[in-house]
Amino acid sequence: MNAAFMQPSRLATLKQLQCNIFQTSYNPQSLRTGAKYFRARLRGPSMMAYYPKTFDIAQITRQYRDLEIVNEDEEERFQDVLERKRRGKGAPKKAKSAADSRRLGKKR
């Protein structure tokens, strides 16, 4: 029998039955169900694995404090800062008020 001669209501029933048999959802108005957000694979894990792992001494010294690993670059930097402070070339004191501050007192 040609589908063109079938009544729309009968076609709908047929479709419904078809969905029932093949276990697909019957959605005659083609409404969006948001199923695609569940169907799509999760992209987070592959995104987090993009950059290759780098060897970070600072992180390892932080992680294993009891091993007392010496980060030589950091020690050197620290010594330089101390030396600079001794010569009066350290960072200025934090401003307590707007009047002390060089930036906040300015008119902009």
């Binding site: 409404l31 948001g34 957000y37 987070g44 993009y50």
Partner: protein, 100 residues
């Protein structure tokens, strides 16, 4: 120490990974036309409360070596110039300069 843009990108990647499932659930509710409008609106409001670095579109594949954000060859994760340098040095297996 990677450059600031790479650090920002790593932050975005972590944020996306941590919030992906919750975001997907809200997206599903908000885009579902079979649910009542009030529920969908509420889900959309919840989606808007997520931070900037939880959206996958804020993630940008950058060069592993230099952190450059443009001209990155995705197969190697390197910017075009770093790719050339490494290829000529023979550090990329199977890649050699074309000659015919």
């Amino acid at each position: 120490m990677p450059c600031a843009r790479v650090i920002r990108d790593i932050k975005a990647r972590k944020g996306v990974g941590a919030n992906e499932i919750a975001r997907r659930a809200y997206l599903m509710v908000a885009r579902n036309q079979t649910l009542p409008t009030q529920v969908r609106l509420h889900a959309q409001m919840q989606l808007n409360t997520f931070g900037r670095y939880t959206r996958p579109t804020t993630v940008n594949n950058r060069c592993h070596e230099t952190g450059r954000g443009r001209g990155v060859i995705s197969e190697f994760g390197l910017s075009r110039f770093q790719f050339r340098i490494k290829a000529l040095r023979g550090e990329l297996p199977g890649v050699h300069k074309a000659s015919w």
